[in-house]
């Protein structure tokens, strides 16, 4: 039988084998989604959707989940995870707000204004920034940025102003959103630059011929033409930002607090926790069934939001189809 396998294969057998391998990959991925959902089911079974709401201190609730024992009752699963969801939305939103304009401007710079040598330099630079591991970003954040913010930027009066609600240590929303923005910008720059380079030269030339200056011509023609690519870049970057766990665990402060914008500047110093970083935090305690279900419920929520993002991106791109560049 081994001899038969060592001889050249007929096409039908090859097709079936390769198809089986592909099916295996597909089944594994679908199995992963189903598996995560099954692990998360106890949380939905006992708490329905109310665990997405707010109420009480989420840190102590997570602690209670860890102590709930081997066969927790329905009340043993009590959780109100809104501060975590809010923290995720805040960091992702602010990081995206910082990164999207920067990425757009950088791409325009690379394509339009950069001298040739600088353009050759920036391509490896973008690739490098995109491939730096998140633990290195987290290390620089926690050893350089957090002490700087904690010692030099946070004043004693700011600390006392919130001292009855939360402690300010330098690790918080500002550092987290900033480092996250630096992490997601290269992805967007790469996609947008490649898209800008596929816009036919003639389109932009036409705009210049009509009297626009080069910048306006780029904005009016090229950037408008690649709007689907910008949407795709934003979707990809948001998905990356939502799922970032280790770096945020290191620099966001690890306190289940919902930062309040009304606090002014202190808003950016308040610590928070995101869904993904909570999963890393509970890594040691995943043996407890209640905490196990909670962590997988967070993972399921992240998956669901990634799906929704892709769907939203697809829907946003639909009306833009007619402007799509055929290069």
């Amino acid at each position: 039988m081994i001899k038969r396998a060592l001889q050249p294969w007929p096409d039908s057998r090859a097709e079936r084998t390769l198809g089986a391998a592909s099916l295996l990959v597909g089944v594994c991925v679908v199995g992963m989604l189903v598996f995560v959902a099954v692990q998360a089911w106890p949380m939905f079974q006992h708490q329905g959707l109310s665990w997405l709401g707010s109420g009480g201190n989420v840190d102590s609730q997570l602690g209670n989940l860890e102590h709930a024992g081997a066969h927790p009752s329905a009340s043993g699963y009590y959780l109100r995870a809104w501060p975590l969801i809010y923290g995720t939305l805040l960091t992702t939103g602010i990081a995206l707000a910082l990164a999207l304009p920067t990425a757009l401007l950088s791409s325009i710079f690379i394509v339009e204004f950069a001298p040739a040598f600088l353009r050759r330099v920036m391509i490896p630079v973008i690739r490098l920034l995109a491939s730096v591991p998140s633990v290195i970003y987290g290390l620089i954040g926690i050893l350089v940025l957090v002490p700087f913010v904690g010692n030099d930027l946070i004043t004693a009066s700011e600390k006392t102003s919130v001292q009855n609600v939360v402690e300010l240590t330098g690790a918080g929303l500002g550092v987290a959103a900033l480092v996250l923005a630096v992490m997601i910008t290269p992805i967007m720059v790469a996609l947008i630059t490649d898209a800008l380079n596929t816009v036919p030269r003639a389109w932009r030339e036409g705009a210049v011929a009509l009297g626009l200056n080069p910048l306006r011509a780029t904005l009016a023609v090229s950037v408008r033409a690649i709007r689907p690519a910008i949407v795709a870049a934003a979707v990809l970057a948001t998905a990356r930002a939502l799922g970032e766990a280790v770096m945020l665990y290191m620099v966001a402060g690890s306190v289940g607090f919902a930062p309040k914008p009304v606090d002014g500047v202190t808003f950016f110093f308040e610590p928070l926790k995101t869904l993904a970083s909570s999963i890393v935090e509970s890594a040691e305690g995943l043996g407890a069934p209640a905490l196990h279900a909670a962590a997988y419920a967070f993972a399921l929520l992240l998956l669901f939001s990634a799906f929704t993002l892709s769907l939203a991106g697809y829907l946003v791109k639909l009306p833009l189809r007619k402007y799509e560049v055929r290069a």
């Binding site: 860890e66 102590h67 709930a68 402690e167 040691e284 407890a288």
Partner: protein, 273 residues
């Protein structure tokens, strides 16, 4: 033809090796432990000594993660023994056996630049429950500004012992920063001039932080041994059901052997002192 035969022979050899070596490995037994970060130094020393005593016939795998993580691991059979640094709670799963091995003291600690010598029970309660928020309200404090509370995550046994023994049974305020291990709590207190926290006496007295007396009694090994200090807690080795096999031998060795008791007496308090 001969190539296939060679492949088959190779498989057979690997298969035999795969069976033979575990048989030789059976002579050594493995004890897996996980749990408290406070008792980790003690258990590590005891394990090393026991391994020498048993002439390397016993291997240990010791992980940390906090007392609660140890309890969860031993409940589900992932480890043989859990290190726990708090008394059994009503929420603990039924069927666990707690074997005490040593006593230790829970100390309140502050930064070295803020050398408070003594705090009363009422002051400790007010500070750690968040009623007192500023160092100006604490007499004898050199620090000024907001009090930075440093505590442990809910998995910690030392936290539970601290709340029961020194905090009047009340929970530490949710304002406190939660560190995952004794080492990290000590680092945090060393780094922040306005901080206050709690450590087991081994880490509190080994330098770098200021250990605070409680109700006038200093937090030292001697005061813990004499029973005067209020915050005396136990280290336990916990098994699922009665201890069996290698784990049982290890625990009874800790209880009976002179070498073990002298290791315990070096930094902690033996049970019968």
């Amino acid at each position: 033809m001969s190539r296939i035969r060679r492949i088959a022979v190779a498989f057979a050899v690997v298969g035999v090796l795969g069976v033979a070596t575990p048989a030789a490995a059976l002579a050594t037994s493995l004890i897996t432990i996980s749990g408290s970060t406070a008792s980790y130094p003690l258990v590590e020393l005891l394990a090393n000594k026991y391994r020498k005593v048993e002439k390397n016939k016993v291997k240990f795998k010791i992980a940390q993660g906090g007392s609660q993580a140890g309890i969860n691991d031993v409940t589900f059979g992932r480890v043989s023994i859990a290190d726990v640094s708090r008394d059994p709670k009503s929420t603990d799963p039924k069927g666990l056996d707690f074997y005490p091995i040593a006593k230790y003291a829970v100390c309140v600690v502050t930064n070295d630049s803020n050398p408070i010598s003594n705090l009363t029970a009422a002051q400790v309660l007010a500070i750690f429950t968040g009623k007192t928020r500023n160092w100006s309200e604490v007499p004898g404090a050199k620090a000024s500004g907001t009090i930075d509370l440093i505590s442990r995550t809910s998995s910690a046994g030392v936290l539970s012992s601290f709340e029961t023994l020194l905090n009047g049974g009340k929970k530490v305020s949710t304002l406190a920063a939660q560190k995952t291990s004794e080492g990290l709590l000590k680092q945090a207190v060393e780094a922040d001039q306005n901080s206050i926290g709690f450590l087991s006496n081994y880490n509190a007295d080994s330098g770098g932080v200021n250990s605070v007396a409680y109700n006038g009694i200093g937090c030292t090994r001697a005061n813990a041994a004499s029973g005067q200090y209020a915050g005396i807690a136990h280290f336990y080795e916990v098994t699922n059901g009665a201890a069996k096999g290698a784990a049982a031998s290890f625990i009874s060795w800790i209880d009976k052997a002179k070498a073990a008791q002298s290791i315990i007496a070096s930094e902690w308090v033996p049970l019968n002192e």
